[in-house]
């Protein structure tokens, strides 16, 4: 497992400058390297679609890396509705792709139906666990990166009020909320947390308005786990004076508004996609459920290159210390609100 991610990280570094994260909709490239038969990779986006600068984009980035790194031939199909998942998956299987990524837990049941019909094709699903011999399930411990984001937020907040902004309520988003709250609690017992949900992943303007209200209600840091609504949240932080921050999710959103996005809780879907693609190119498909947490390098925070200077002294060190605890298994981060209630904050000597 470690091996996979070292490769992935290297690939990411190499590709970082050249690809820039953008890719065409349905790039069906020819084989760049000229080896005998390039691997055919494909993915199906969830209804959020490409351009979310988040989850689907991250997966697509991994795929584009695979194209440049491995000379893979890649295809992306977008889904407009939940009933598109199955035909999209089938279409890609029919087109003879070797490995097909299903992006998102919404595809769980569709993949469960499609996979047995194409025993020779290999599938991977992100964020869900599909129990089929030809499916690799990839789940992430978002609560762990959210915890670290909570640590940074709890240490950085000047008003001792932080906020969580979710999209549509669901167990997945709950993970982010629980981990974040636990992190804040651990480092800043005086901090209160506001929670709101936009009820949408698309309505950018709403995301902005919610964030504005959260700021006005006293928060100075908003953790936005709300799809495209997060873009509105970042925009709101931009229109505020110094001292107001948003924490992004899934992709590195720091660069959208340098100095305003405190950090982003990364979910390295791109790395996972590339790692799996690399294995696949050697016809070595890992089976079962792969769980990617901090330990596996599947989640984490950004390097905070724009915001380092705004952090209080020792904040980064504290964060690293918590990371070590989690990686070592000494700290189990709650992933549901029920677990959060039972969570006993773990204080380090160095907290404020």
């Amino acid at each position: 497992m470690r091996r996979l991610f070292i490769l992935a990280a290297a690939a990411a570094l190499f590709a970082g400058c050249s690809s820039g994260g953008s890719g065409s909709t349905a790039a069906s490239g020819t084989n760049a390297t000229g080896t005998n038969s390039p691997i055919k990779l494909a993915m199906v986006t969830d209804v959020g679609g490409l351009g979310d600068k988040s989850f689907n984009d991250s997966a697509n980035r991994g795929l584009q890396w695979a194209k440049t790194q491995l000379g893979a031939q890649v295809t992306v199909l977008q889904s407009r509705s939940v009933t598109d998942y199955e035909p999209n998956l089938s279409t890609l299987a029919d087109q003879g792709n070797d490995l097909i990524f299903a992006i998102g837990f919404l595809m769980h049941d569709s993949l469960n139906d499609v996979a047995p019909r194409y025993p020779a094709t290999h599938f991977a699903i992100i964020d869900s666990d599909v129990d089929q011999p030809n499916v690799t399930s990839i789940t992430f411990r978002e609560e762990e990166s959210s915890f670290l984001a909570g640590v940074i937020a709890g240490l950085t907040t000047k008003k001792n009020v932080v906020a969580f902004l979710g999209g549509i309520e669901s167990p997945l988003i709950e993970k982010f909320q629980a981990g974040f709250a636990a992190g804040v609690e651990s480092v800043n017992p005086h901090a209160t947390m506001l929670v709101k949900y936009t009820g949408s992943f698309d309505d950018v303007a709403s995301g902005k308005e919610y964030t504005s209200v959260l700021f006005d209600q006293g928060a100075d840091i908003v953790y936005a786990a709300a799809g495209k609504c997060g873009l509105g949240a970042i925009d709101e932080a931009q229109s505020r004076p110094a001292g107001y921050y948003v924490i992004g999710v899934d992709s590195d959103q720091d660069g959208i508004a340098p100095g305003k996005v405190l950090t982003s809780a990364l979910k390295h879907v791109d790395h996972a996609v590339l790692a799996l693609a690399a294995d696949a190119s050697r016809s070595d498909f890992p089976r079962g459920n792969l769980v990617f947490g901090l330990k596996e390098g599947g989640v984490g925070l950004t390097e905070m290159k724009y915001t380092r200077r705004y952090l209080p002294a020792g904040a980064l060190a504290t964060e690293k210390a918590y990371e070590k605890l989690i990686v070592a298994g000494k700290l189990v981060v709650p992933s549901t609100l029920v677990q959060l209630k039972a969570f006993v904050p773990v204080h380090l000597a160095a907290t404020k």
Binding site: G51, V204, V213, K228, L231
Partner: protein, 288 residues
């Protein structure tokens, strides 16, 4: 933190943002429907305006030009509605639906081709202070009211919407007025779209209009086809969504608050709270 005063303050801050795009679009609907053309394409026209503004700003970095282009786009889309409704005597509802479908498809298609990435545009230069547009919207409410009820143009327009043959015999060019009203309505609806994109958020994203065009349509009906009524309805609907943002987590599920404009409109046109009566010839094709 949750004293009534603070709640009121928070609502007062969000409300204009919620209301502004609705008011623009609803005023567009009011003008068009007072002239006798039902415009259910407000949603699509808003999306078209929002998109055109972002593309222009992306290419030229000129926000004023972007808003101008948005308005032109709205006028062009409304002109399609007017042409099919007037020159082709097509059913206005059918044409409105067609424009909604066409525009939503076209913008999504163009997002992919213009920005090279589907779904959303990158961040583009936008208005530094979108509140300007809120004041413009409020001013337009008064302007539209004055035009409709205190000027010859307004009287002619309403005459055309009420009884086109009477207007025609009074020497008023019914067809020209209907074209003009529909196109002016399109310009306003597109302004509402531009507010959402280059005004408030500085990006375009598929689905970002998120039903506001239909809420505006509801406001036109709820406001009994008058500028102040429609703007009041927009403010009323915006008040509820603002309360929803500020007070979220209360006993009422979010969806029920979001439903409110739609339910109220149904109640209004069913006549339970004072009959909502459209202009007499609203939606009726005019043939000489």
């Amino acid at each position: 933190m949750s004293t009534p005063w603070l709640i009121a303050l928070a609502v007062a801050k969000v409300l204009p943002k919620k209301a502004t795009p609705l008011i623009f679009a609803a005023l567009g609907g009011v003008i068009s429907e007072n002239g006798g053309i039902v415009n259910i394409a407000l949603e699509g026209i808003m999306a078209g305006g929002a998109f055109a503004a972002v593309v222009t700003s992306y290419r030229t970095h000129d926000v004023v030009l972007a808003i101008f282009v948005a308005v032109l786009t709205g006028m062009a889309l409304a002109a399609v509605l007017a042409y099919f409704a007037l020159a082709q005597s097509a059913d206005q509802i059918v044409v409105g639906m067609a424009i909604n479908i066409l525009t939503l498809g076209m913008t999504a298609y163009l997002v992919s081709t213009v920005f090279g990435q589907p779904g959303a545009s990158p961040e583009v230069p936008g208005l530094r202070n979108e509140a300007v547009l809120t004041w413009v919207a409020l001013a337009l409410v008064v302007v539209v009211h004055v035009i409709l009820y205190r000027t010859r143009i307004g009287i002619h327009l309403r005459a055309v919407g009420e009884e086109p043959r009477a207007a025609a015999t009074a020497g008023i060019n019914v067809v020209a007025y209907r074209y003009a009203a529909t196109i002016a309505g399109g310009a306003l609806a597109a302004l509402g779209g531009a507010y959402l994109s280059v005004g408030e958020t500085h990006i375009y994203s598929d689905g970002m209009v998120a039903g506001r065009g239909f809420i505006a349509l509801a406001a036109v009906i709820f406001g009994k086809w008058t500028p102040f009524g429609a703007a009041g309805a927009c403010a009323f609907f915006a008040l509820f969504s603002s309360l929803q943002i500020v007070l979220q987590g209360g006993a009422v599920p979010a969806q029920f608050l979001e439903m409110l404009p739609y339910l109220l409109t149904i109640v209004a046109i069913a006549g339970f709270i004072g009959r909502a009566r459209p202009p007499a010839s609203d939606g009726v094709p005019y043939e000489r």
